[in-house]
Structures are given as C-alpha cells and as structure tokens.
Symmetry: C2
Subunit: 284 residues, 2 copies
C-alpha cells in the first residue's frame, strides 16, 4: 500500500495502476439538515466531498459505489431527487456509478466510495512540502462557514481539474483539501512534511461581500476564513512561479514554508509575526 | 464496466486488472441488534457480508474502506472491539484496511467497501447458468434464520476459498451468495440466465439439530431453509461431476437447471413437482 490511512485518499496498486480510494459518510443532523438543503443538493454534496478527497491527491475519479439509508419520511420522489443529484455531479466529472446498497434507516445516511486513478502516475500527498515553497489556495475561503451561520448550506466547489493540473506540475510538492479549515488542514501538511510555515492573514482570499456578511452576523471574519471549515478548496505548496489562475479559478499565494522550528505562525496587517492556535466553529 | 449494478459485485477494469467492488451498510435495529451481538461480532459481520459478495463472484478480496457512525452510548472500548472484529476477519482473508471515515451518529452504522480482484481473470456472475446444469449449495441452510427467531445472531460463514476454487473450475457456470434465502436468490440466477429450475426440497442440506430447533420454536423448517435468508452460503450451477466437499465444506446437489418455460418448481418428498412462490420471514 503506497499510501495508507491518514492522507485524503488511500493509494493501492492493482497491476500497474495506482488506484485512489476514499469513502465519506454524510449523516442527517450531523453533516446536513434536510430543511437547509434540497434532496438534489444533499446528493450533490455527498458526491462533491468525496471528489474533493480525490482532487486533494491530484487524482482522476473513475467509479463510485453508493450506500444509502433512507428514512420512512423520505418519499420515492425525494429519493429519486437525491440520486439525481449524485448522478449529475458524477456525470460531469466522468465518474461511473457502478453499484450500491439501499437500506431503511431512521435518518438519511449517504455513503459514497470513490475509486480513482493517479494522474500521470503521480500522487500528491500531504508530506512533500519543502522549505522555501510558497503556500497557495484556490478560490476563496470562509464562504461555507458563513453560509452555515446564516442557516444555509453552500455546495462544495469541484477542484478535480485543478488537482490534475497540479499533479502534472513538478513544481507542486504537497496538496490537501480544506475540509476542517485552513489552520487545521495546513497543520496536517506541516506535520506530515516535518516543516513549519508562516501565513499572511491579509492575503487569504475572500469573496466579494464576505466581510460585510460576517459583520452583519456579528462574526469574526478572520476566524471564519482561517478556521471555518467546509471550504473544499485546495491548499498546496510549490516552488514559484505559478499562474494566477488555473482552470479559470484564482490561485492565491498566502504564505511560505519555513523550517520546522517555526511551527505555524501568522503575519498580521502590521507585518508582525505571532503564533496562536486558531480554533474553528461548531456548526450545529 | 464489464458488470454494472445488479450482480453481487460491480466489475471494473483498471489497466489489465478486473477489479471487483462491493459495499454494504449495516444499520443498528435494521441489520443487527446490539443486545444480541458483541461489538466484535458486529464488526466481524460487517466484514463477512461484504466478503460474501466477493465470494459470490469467485473473487479475491484485497482492500477495505470503512465508514462508521458511532452513537454516544458506544464507549471507546466498544469502538475498539468493533474495529478489532473487522480487522480480525480482514486479516484472516488477506484484506488490508486502507482507510475510513468515523462519525458521530444516533445509531451504530457500519459501512464496508471491499475491493477485490478476479481469480485467474474470471468472474462468475448470475447469468451463466445453462440447461442441464446441476444446482449446488455449500454448507447448510436455515441456521441463520432459526437463530434470529431464537433472538440470536449467527455470524455468516466465509466462503472466499470455495468461491476462488469455483472460479478456476470451468465446469462452474453461475454463482450467487444466499443472502435473501434460497428461493429468492435462485430466482436471481434464473432471471439473469434466462432459464428455469427444479429443486428437490428434501435434498436441501440442514445442520444437525436444525429440525428439532425449528419444531421447538413452532416454525416451519421448510420455510426457514428455503426462504429464511442470511445463510451467506454459495449457490452455484455446474456441469457434473463435482466433489462432495471443497475446502472441507460439504457441497450438495439440490436440483437441476431446466428450460425457461418451467419457471422455478419444487419436488416434494413424494416426488411430485409443483410451482409455488415461497415467501421469507421478516426478522424484526
């Protein structure tokens, strides 16, 4: 097993193919609320969070297996809409749904297993970051956490194409997807790679209207964007220069990989460096 | 995709390898009761029912992914015992657990995805039965259904080795595992293969003490053994002769594949042929 538990996907070899495997279970009331999301959106989200794990290794998703637990309160038409949401996202990403298991349950449970292949034989893990690498993120951070605080769910973006381009680029050394929030997921890279890092808080990209939205809800925008979670953007380290966009999505430099002894430190708007653990929000 | 949804496993090609994929979700109160089974047994069962799907294609199980929902009432030690049950069965069958996903849940949920390889490049499906084939089962039937009626769970047997031997034997034409009961699962072979069959009810093998046990509980032993479900033995069709044991497990001839127009018919103890739909038990 080239990569076992602890990275975004497991990597196994079958014949000459490096195969990526990942599984994620979404449980009603824990990972989503049915009154905040349509059945199509729940299905789409279940597929997208698994696709994000494949993107986080630069992989090419190929096949999906579904296991679903359907509550009695779920109508046949709602179940159809759930599966339609999954099929639609699968189709757009070249994924064939090859099987599954449907059960009765008390609450809606959706488990997706994805099988992918390494792009050009290369797998980008959390452990390849090197001193002097720049640290980049795709898209904008904090939007999903802000939406949750406004009692809405935001569908994860799909970064498969970007992940595959990164896997083909030898300047890129490590990669992870942002599910727990920047601060937490960056620590996974630092620990796996045995390095430290500094992040310029002001450089972390946010979407138009994000600051105003956070202010309206009385929330700290920094905590939302640095530790909010569920961004499902890609965080990666590379030796520059990189393009400012890949596949039409902005790529932003937010920091630098340092020797391990620096740990994780932040740069504030006055250019001061400091170390402080940043905790995330609890969503429910 | 060589075999899509509708057989025991999906079969995909990755490079030159035929890969078998299966997933099964066990939900507390639907598939097991915690007061009838230890955590180790629940873990073992979750792995064994998935192994049975690989055995049902004659495959070689290689890797497993686990998704688990743990209720608050489940202690850390119980969770350890659950995983120990899964690991033990995986280890005995040459399966490497490569990853997983652990969540909080209201009820215990265990989802296993297994990845296997075809044995000697051959996959035994439900659709290969030929007129004149004899119909065989491994082991004995009805024990699991009887145990459930006595408010106990019986762990499924593991028929991986037998399945692999059957895949290497060109006399064997079709294969399925018995999860829903003989009558129901045989119909899957008949429909997929476009054939009929007759089954000698008296030939269907039962374990010592089975008839007495059924009598004690006031249950119809024929219904238990023909439609009880959860046997997880193998049902297959082959051109004779076959050995009376494979891997130490008795192999019993119970009937013959006929032209499609005969449907599924039974032979009673007086040698009379009749057609009648046999319904299973509901376990909870």
């Amino acid at each position: 097993v080239p990569v076992g538990p602890g990275d975004d996907c497991a990597v196994i070899r079958l014949g000459r193919v490096k195969v990526l495997l990942t599984t994620d279970m979404l449980i009603e009331g824990r990972h989503f609320r049915r009154d905040w999301m349509s059945p199509e959106e729940i299905g789409a989200k279940a597929m997208l969070v698994n696709l994000s794990d494949i993107a986080a290794m630069g992989g090419d998703p190929r096949f999906a297996l579904l296991s679903v637990g359907l509550p009695r309160s779920f109508s046949v038409s709602e179940a159809d809409r759930l599966f339609r949401g999954m099929r639609e996202v699968a189709r757009k990403n070249g994924v064939t749904i090859v099987g599954g298991d449907t059960n009765a349950a008390d609450r809606l449970i959706v488990n997706v297993t994805l099988i992918g292949e390494a792009t050009a034989g290369r797998v980008l893990t959390r452990s390849g970051a090197r001193e002097g690498d720049f640290i980049y993120v795709t898209g904008t951070l904090g939007d999903a956490a802000l939406a949750l605080r406004a009692r809405r769910h935001r569908l994860p973006p799909c970064r498969i194409k970007i992940g595959k381009k990164l896997a083909r680029d030898r300047r890129v050394h490590s990669l992870i997807d942002l599910s727990d929030g920047l601060a937490g997921d960056l620590r996974h890279i630092l620990e796996a790679s045995g390095v430290g890092a500094e992040i310029d808080r002001g450089a972390v990209p946010v979407s138009p209207g994000f600051l105003e939205g956070a202010k309206r809800l009385g929330l700290d925008p920094d905590r939302l964007k640095l530790a909010g979670g569920e961004d499902y953007e890609l965080l990666f380290t590379a030796s520059p220069p990189l393009p400012s966009k890949i596949d039409g999505v902005p790529i932003t430099k937010i920091g630098t990989i340092l020797p391990k002894r620096f740990g994780l430190r932040w740069i504030d708007s006055q250019g001061r460096r400091y170390s402080k653990k940043i905790y995330g929000f609890r969503h429910f």
